[in-house]
C-alpha cells in the first residue's frame, strides 16, 4: 500500500519526533511511505482566519503535491478536517476531490483502513489522560461527542491505545471541552485561550495522569505551553509516539 505522508508545518518545525514516529509506525505496519519534499501546509492558518484568498496558493500547492497518491496520511485531525471539509479556497477539480477523499488522520487510517487494534511492541506502563481535538470529534467523527447524549459511545484514538500493553487511562471532568487552541484564536484571543488551557490542565491534573496524550499536536502545543507556565513538567506525547513504542 502506497501512502503519502503529510507532516503539518508546526510538527515539521517544533515536533519532528512526531513525524518520525508516524513514519516509523506506518513502515512497521508494512506501508510503503513517501514523503513528498515539496509539501508545505494545508492552508488552514489562513482559511481559519477568514483569509481564504491567502489560503488559495497553499491549497493549490497541496493538490499539486498530493494529487496522485492513493492515500494521504497525516498525524493531525485538524489538518485532515481542513482538507476534507474546508478545502474551498482552491478551485473545485477532480484532483481536489481526490485529495479531499483520500486524506486521513493517522488514527482513522490505522483504525478504519488498516484495521489495526494491537500494538504489542509498544508497551507503555503509564496512566494516560487522552485529549481528543474538536476537529477530530466534531469535524471527523473520530469519537462520540458529549452533546449527543443518546449516541453510542466510542473513541477511535482510545480504541487504538487500548491495544498498547500496560497503558491505563484516567478519566477527567469535561473530557471533550475545547482546550482553547483554536488556530489563530490562540493568539488573537490569547487570554481566553490560555484560561481554557489552564482549566483543561487543571481537570486533567486532578485525575493524576503520568502523561497527556492527543492525536492533535496543536492542542498539545497549547496545553503544554500552559502546563509549563504552571510549572508542571509532565510529558505530553502524540499518539503516534506511543503507538510506535516510545519509552520515557
Amino acid at each position: 500500500m502506497e501512502v503519502a505522508l503529510m507532516i503539518p508545518c508546526y510538527i515539521d518545525t517544533f515536533y519532528p519526533q512526531v513525524g518520525i514516529a508516524t513514519l516509523e509506525l506506518l513502515e512497521r505496519l508494512n506501508v510503503s511511505v513517501t514523503y513528498p519534499a515539496e509539501q508545505t501546509c494545508c492552508g488552514q492558518p489562513m482559511a481559519n482566519s477568514g483569509c481564504y484568498n491567502e489560503a488559495r496558493g497553499t491549497e493549490e500547492n497541496f493538490v499539486r503535491i498530493f494529487g496522485d497518491f492513493e492515500y494521504i496520511v497525516t498525524p493531525s485531525g485538524s489538518c485532515t478536517h481542513h482538507i476534507r471539509n474546508k478545502f474551498t479556497a482552491v478551485a473545485d477539480s477532480p484532483a481536489r476531490q481526490r485529495v479531499q477523499n483520500r486524506t486521513y488522520d493517522l488514527v482513522e487510517f490505522l483504525h478504519d483502513i488498516l484495521n489495526i487494534r494491537d500494538f504489542p511492541w509498544a508497551t507503555f506502563e503509564k496512566k494516560v489522560a487522552l485529549h481528543t481535538s474538536c476537529s477530530a470529534i466534531r469535524g471527523l467523527n473520530m469519537a462520540s461527542m458529549s452533546e449527543r447524549v443518546h449516541d453510542v459511545k466510542f473513541s477511535k484514538p482510545k480504541k487504538l491505545l487500548e491495544g498498547v500493553p500496560g497503558l491505563q487511562f484516567v478519566e477527567f471532568e469535561r473530557f471533550d471541552e475545547c482546550c482553547g487552541f483554536g488556530g489563530t484564536f490562540s493568539v488573537t484571543e490569547e487570554a481566553v485561550a490560555a484560561k481554557m488551557g489552564y482549566d483543561k490542565i487543571g481537570f486533567m491534573t486532578k485525575a493524576g495522569p503520568d502523561v497527556i496524550v492527543s492525536s492533535d499536536m496543536s492542542c498539545l502545543m497549547h496545553l503544554q505551553g500552559c502546563a509549563r507556565r504552571l510549572n508542571q513538567d509532565r510529558p505530553f506525547l502524540h499518539i503516534a509516539e506511543i503507538l510506535n513504542g516510545v519509552t520515557l
Binding site: 507532516i7 508545518c9 508546526y10 510538527i11 515539521d12 518545525t13 517544533f14 515536533y15 519532528p16 513525524g19 518520525i20 513514519l23 519534499a37 515539496e38 509539501q39 508545505t40 501546509c41 492558518p45 489562513m46 481559519n48 482566519s49 477568514g50 483569509c51 481564504y52 484568498n53 491567502e54 488559495r56 496558493g57 497553499t58 500547492n61 474538536c134 466534531r138 452533546e147 449527543r148 447524549v149 443518546h150 471541552e177 475545547c178 483554536g182 488556530g183 489563530t184 484564536f185 490562540s186 493568539v187 488573537t188 484571543e189 490569547e190 487570554a191 481566553v192 485561550a193 490560555a194 484560561k195 481554557m196 488551557g197 489552564y198 496543536s218 502545543m221 505551553g225 509549563r228 507556565r229
Partner: protein, 464 residues
Amino acid sequence: MSRVDQAEAAVKFMEDHVHEERLDKILWTARMRRDQAALQVPEWEELRDLASQIKEHTLSNLAHYLEEFEKNAKANGVTVHWARDAHEHNEVVYRLLSEKRVTTLVKSKSMLTEECETRPFLETRGIRVTETDLGERIQQLDDQPPSHITGPAIHKTTEDVADLFSRVYGSDKTKADAVYLANVMRENTRPEFLKAGAGMTGGNFLVASTGAVVTVTNEGNADLSGNVPLLRICSVGIEKIIPADEHLAVFIRLLTRSATGEKITQFTSTFRKPRKDGEMHIILVDNGRSARLGMERFWPSLKCIRCAACMNTCPVYRRSGGLSYGSNYMGPIGIILMPTFDAHKYSELPFSSTLNGSCTNVCPVKIDIHEQIYAWREVMEDKDQIKIVKKEAMIVAGKVLSSPQLYQIATSSTETALKILPHFAIYNPLNYWGKHRDVPQAAEETFHEWYKNHRLKANEVLGL
C-alpha cells in the same frame, strides 16, 4: 461606528477571576443539566429534527403564516401592527401609550425590545419604564444591557446584586442571599404593576392557527405585565411564528430542557384576547429579519428559539462574559446574528470562537452555528473587514506557505534570521502567545531535514 473588541473586553471580565470562574461553573452546570434532561427523552434527536423542520417550513411560508396569524388575532379582538424596523416599532409603542396618556410602563424581559432599544426611546419621551424580570431589572438598575438572553444578570455575583440593591433600594448590603434579594425586588416591583398604565411583553411563539402569543417564563412577571394593566402591548419578531398548537408542543419540550435542564418553566402562558375592558396590541417586527431570510448561507439563524444552550456550552462565552460581545445577542448565536445588523461594528465577533462545534450540537433547532461562524469569517474577507495587522500577516503566510522554496528557507533550522514560525505563530508577535504560555522551542532539525539526512541520503548510499 467603531469595531467591538470582544477579546479586550474579555480580558477585563477575567481580571478578578471571581466573576469568570463563577460564570463558567454556573453555565457548565446548566449544560450538564441539559445533557441529563436530553438523556431522559429517548426521542431527543428526533425532536431536534422535527423542530428544525417545522421552523424551516414556517420560514419558507412566512407570509402565509403571518397573514393567517393576523386574521386570527384580529378575530380575537387584538389589534395587529407591522413594524419594518426598530424605529417603526418604537413609534408604534409610543403612539399607543400617548393615545392613552400612559406615562408608566411595566415590561417583562424581551430581547426584541433590547434589539430595538425601546426603553431608552420611551424614557427620553417621558415614559417611566420598569423592567420586571429580576435579571433584567438588575441590569436596568445597573445601567447595563443583558449579558445573557435567558439570564440577563448571570455574570453578576450575589454580592454584586446585594451591593446594587443596597445603593438603589437601601437594602442590607451584607445580606448576599438570593431569597432575601428576590424579596427586595418583589417588594419594590409589585407596586409598579398596580400603578402602571400599560404592560409590555415579548413572545416566545406566535401560533398562526389561533392568533395566540405564548410566553415561557419562570417568575410570572410576564403574566402580571400582560394581565394587570388595561393596555397590553406585545412585541414579537416575525420569525417566532409556528403553524399550530401541536407544533408548540415540540418546542416547549425542547426549549426549557435545552436552556436549564428543567422539564418546563413555571409559567407557559397563552395570550389570546385582551382582558375585560382592556386592549391588546401585537406588534410584528421585521427589523432585518426578512433580509436575513434572503441570505442563502445565514437564514437558518432565524430558526433560533432563544434558549441560550449555545452560550452555556460555549467555552469562550463562559470565560468572557456576555457583555464582552458589546451586542444585543451574544455568544455563538450572537456572533452569527449581529453582523447582519452591522458588518463593520461586529466584524471581529466571528473570530471570538475556537470553532469547536459544541454549540451546533446542543442547538435544539439544529442551526449549524459553528459552520456559520466560519462562513462569516469569509464574508469579512469579502467585505474587506479583516484587521489590517492580521491581513498583512496572512498575506505573508500565504506567500511563504504556497511556495516550497520559501517554506524551506523560512523553516530551515540553519536560517535563524529568516526563520518564520509556522501556523498560529506567523500571525503574531510571539509575545502574545508567551503572555500566559511557554513558547514551543523550534527543533534543532526539522522533520524535513531529518528525512533528507536520514532517509534520502541513506538511500543514496544504499543505491536506492
